[in-house]
């Protein structure tokens, strides 16, 4: 083990150009956190290799000296998956930013991991194709990061998450061995390791190349904006749409606090008197969309929608979406800081969950507008707090943890698309029993026997879970700790 940052940086400079190795605090500070700004760690050394040969060199060096490696894309992740390791090397893949090939006939794009999500769809557009997963951060986030987190977006219900839209991932083990997960065909021999690689938060391999599935751009899309007088009515409407056999292209909800927060900026025309607004989109051929919109409107009406507007033009459709898409920047203006978690719950509990969150707003003394992927039951509560006030920070964290525990009580999961990272390590102790957590550690060992790739993320230690358990039992927060939670 090399003890000093200086030794590590010097060693790495032997096979990396000087500008690809950062070790001065003023250079490494920008990498101290990802989108989860509550937790920071200045990395000892940051490397930004530009070629595969250089990447191999970095891995060989780190393996030889047993130095942890934390891979990083654009750093837009919200769970701290790219939080630097105190004694590790932060490996930025940002310079691997080439779109290697777009094959319109095969409907695939093969890209390096540093390619931005949106630029794939831009490159595919001339062929009438696009890459379906569209996380809110798509102008900045990278495909490598999307693979690490199994990112979603607003079209998951119909088009799937990253997992459903990736054919092949190429990567390297910590020791620099080449791995190919999946293939350009629809399956590959052996166990389906692609399913493990996607969403593994940089802990199983370093992604070097990804082949994505592209899908045809729908001929038309139209959006319905529906108002509800009660959040439970809106939740029931979501359930009713799905029960009617409709799979909307997008189905998003904003509660009143969220509509009021975004409207001054987005001018989307949201009904500010409504307790909740639903955005429900249909896409396909013009005839198909016309027919589906009629069915959707009928369901929404019988589900007590108080006002329904259907976009009559593409400009109007984009205006409806403008508020939803600007929710995060708007939250940034509404408070000094916001904290967004992403538990997922069965759709039928959406209304109940929103009422629970309203009660928590009082309990923690913090506001929490909600904008979320209602069709997937994937919540995005935006807890507004003051990051200069330690008490406010602590209340925001406790508020977030409480929402995640409530998600589990309702039969859901603590993360729908943001990942565990370091943020939700405690809640992993609630979601999975120790044997299953140990099995996750076994998976990690199978891919990374030396434990050098992003160690300490995703799977909590026995000790950590014991601490969390004590804390929660003393707070009386777990009524039936012995119950298994699926």
């Amino acid at each position: 083990m090399l003890d000093h940052a200086g030794d590590t940086a010097r060693g790495l400079r032997e096979f990396l150009p000087a500008h690809c190795v950062l070790s001065e605090p003023e250079d490494t500070r920008p990498f101290e956190c990802d989108g989860l700004t509550l937790i920071r760690q200045i990395p000892k050394v940051v490397v930004l290799p530009e070629t595969l040969v250089q990447l191999h060199g970095v891995l060989r060096f780190c393996s030889t000296h047993a130095i942890p490696i934390v891979p990083r894309g654009a750093g837009t992740g919200l769970a701290g998956s790219a939080l630097p390791h105190p004694s590790g090397v932060l490996l930025s893949m940002a310079k691997f930013n080439r779109i290697i090939r777009v094959d319109p006939q095969a409907r695939t794009a093969t890209v390096e991991p540093g390619v931005r999500n949106l630029s794939v769809s831009e490159a595919a557009a001339p062929h009438g194709l696009y890459y379906a997963p569209d996380p809110s951060s798509q102008i900045a986030c990278t495909i490598g990061g999307n693979v690490a987190e199994n990112s979603g977006g607003v079209h998951c219900l119909k088009y799937g998450l990253t997992l459903q839209n990736v054919l092949e991932v190429r990567g390297l083990t910590a020791a620099g061995e080449e791995l190919v997960f999946g293939s350009h065909a629809l399956d590959a021999p052996g166990l389906d390791l692609l399913a493990l690689a996607i969403g593994s938060e940089g802990m199983l391999a370093v992604t070097t190349e990804v082949t994505l599935r592209l899908v045809p751009v729908p001929e038309v899309a139209r959006c319905i904006m529906a108002s509800f007088a009660d959040v439970e009515h809106a939740g029931d409407a979501v359930e009713a749409l799905i029960a009617a056999g409709i799979i909307p292209a997008g189905l998003e909800m904003l509660d009143q606090a969220a509509s009021r927060m975004v409207e001054p900026f987005a001018k989307a025309g949201y009904d500010l008197d409504a307790a909740a607004v639903l955005l429900c989109e249909s896409d396909g051929s013009p005839e198909e969309v016309d027919a589906e919109i009629l069915r959707m409107v009928a369901v929404l009406k019988s589900a007590h929608a108080t006002r329904i507007q259907v976009s009559g033009s593409e400009a109007e459709r984009l205006r409806f979406w403008a508020g939803r898409k600007n929710a995060f920047p708007a939250a940034g203006r509404a408070a000094p800081a916001y904290y967004c978690t992403d538990g997922t719950i069965p759709r039928k509990h959406i209304g109940r969950m929103l009422k629970s969150i309203q009660a928590m707003e009082v309990k923690y003394g913090l506001g929490c507008p909600n904008v979320f992927h209602a069709g997937d039951g994937n919540l995005h509560p935006l807890i507004l707090f003051d990051d200069s006030d330690p008490d406010s920070v602590a209340r925001a964290e406790a508020f977030g943890a409480d929402i995640l525990e409530e998600s589990l009580r309702l039969g859901g999961t603590v993360t729908g698309e943001h990942g565990i990272g370091v943020e939700k390590l405690n809640q992993m102790c609630s979601q999975f029993d120790r044997q299953t957590l140990d099995a996750f550690l076994g998976v990690k060992r199978a891919f990374d026997p030396e434990g050098l790739l992003n160690p300490g993320k995703v799977v909590p230690s026995l000790h950590r879970c014991a601490e969390y358990g004590r804390m929660r039992v003393s707070a009386g927060a777990v009524p039936f700790p012995e119950l298994p939670r699926f």
């Binding site: 094959d103 006939q105 095969a106 009438g128 799937g160 459903q164 061995e177 080449e178 791995l179 293939s183 065909a185 629809l186 590959a188 021999p189 052996g190 166990l191 389906d192 390791l193 399913a195 493990l196 969403g199 593994s200 045809p216 751009v217 001929e219 009713a240 799905i242 029960a243 056999g245 799979i247 396909g284 051929s285 005839e287 198909e288 027919a291 589906e292 997922t344 719950i345 069965p346 759709r347 039928k348 997937d376 039951g377 999961t413 729908g416 565990i420 979601q431 999975f432 029993d433 044997q435 099995a439 996750f440 076994g442 998976v443 990690k444 060992r445 199978a446 891919f447 995703v458 699926f486």
Partner: protein
């Protein structure tokens, strides 16, 4: 713990301590698939039944020993379906065997809004592994990225990591309307057309080419299907006849599959050139799945599949050893280490997938 599960755990623990091989087998409908099974039969069918089906959540949770036909009937009663249209290969098929085999049927296409494969349908699973642990992975909601996605790895795992106990599966509404169109064309032209169509918003849900005939199925809303049928042309097949054709293709019971020579399952990029190998071919999944009936040596078929960017499995017949394409060294090493983690005594289905697993 339930008595049935407790007994299963006890059998596994005993086998592990004696290092005695267990061959997981329910209805035995897929016993032909993979390398020759070895070991004492372990039948998990006592653990059976639909635990929960909530149509508005698009999820069904079932015990793995539940007959596949029972799962499909429960879904059909609510106008829903397993989107990957699994082959049963016999009336005794169970949902656990179906997922462990990982085989999808005609609806696994590569176009637009896809129905996806077996993996895409798995949301959560409980596994009894070779250490006798009951492990719960995933969950019951469609978006869930907590922990590694082990439940999806069970799709196609052939039981080498353990016995699947419970499954939560994503389901989809059954299509409002379907239509099947018939065309006369060569293999080259069919591959070209299928890939062209897949790049356009056409609701293709199945395709099959053989003997210079191409049939494609469209699924979706009435408007979408009628519209696409008009655009694509071809000859419309009568509905019940079309359903029977897709069914016998899926179950491999029609004349084409009945004949003797070894049957290869060749998985290729949909745009791959014709295989141009001696034998008879039946092409599904828009060109991505090519069934080949041939007496050619294994090495020849494998080399051609690899040259075209895919892999070849000896699906039925022939010598039942080494039926799957060998793995690269680093991937094989990961397989062995996963096996060591989940089944260190190597009791479950030894050799069924690869000799050293």
């Amino acid at each position: 713990m339930d008595d049935i599960l407790a007994r299963m755990v006890a059998v596994v623990q005993a086998a592990a301590s004696e290092r005695r091989a267990l061959c997981i087998r329910s209805g035995g409908t897929k016993a032909f698939y993979g390398n020759t099974p070895r070991g004492t039969v372990f039948d998990p069918r006592a653990w059976s039944g639909v635990e929960n089906h909530e149509p508005s959540e698009l999820v069904i949770t079932v015990r793995a020993g539940t007959p596949l036909r029972e799962v499909e009937a429960a879904l059909a009663a609510k106008h829903q379906m397993l989107a990957f249209e699994p082959p049963h290969f016999g009336d005794e098929a169970t949902i656990g065997g179906c997922i462990a085999a990982g085989l999808a049927g005609p609806r696994r296409s590569s176009a637009g809004f896809t129905y996806g494969g077996v993996r895409e349908a798995v949301l959560g699973a409980r596994l009894l592994d070779g250490r006798g642990r009951l492990l719960r992975f995933g969950g019951t909601v469609i978006k869930n990225v907590a922990g590694y996605d082990v439940s999806r790895v069970l799709a196609g795992s052939l039981g080498v990591l353990g016995v699947i106990i419970d499954l939560s599966l994503k389901v989809l509404p059954s299509p409002e309307k379907e239509a099947t169109l018939l065309f006369e064309m060569s293999e080259t032209e069919a591959l070209q057309r299928l890939n062209n169509w897949a790049g356009r918003p056409v609701p293709l849900s199945a395709s099959c080419w053989r003997s210079n005939q191409l049939w494609v199925r469209l699924s979706g809303s009435g408007a979408a299907v009628e519209n696409a049928a008009r655009t694509l042309g071809g000859e419309k097949m009568e509905h019940s006849h079309a359903d029977a054709c897709w069914h016998s293709l899926r179950e491999q019971v029609d004349g084409w599959f009945a004949t003797a020579p070894p049957l290869w399952r060749v998985s290729l990029p949909s745009t791959a050139d014709p295989m141009s190998l001696a034998g008879e071919q039946c092409i599904e999944w828009g060109g991505a799945l090519r069934w080949l009936r041939t007496d050619l040596p294994m090495a020849v078929v494998r080399a051609r599949a690899q040259a075209l960017g895919g892999h070849a499995t000896l699906f039925r017949g022939g010598d039942r050893q080494g039926v799957f394409t060998p793995l690269t060294a680093p991937i094989a090493a990961i397989h062995r280490r996963l096996k060591d983690e989940f089944d260190p005594a190597r009791i479950f289905n030894p050799g069924r997938m690869y000799e050293d697993l």
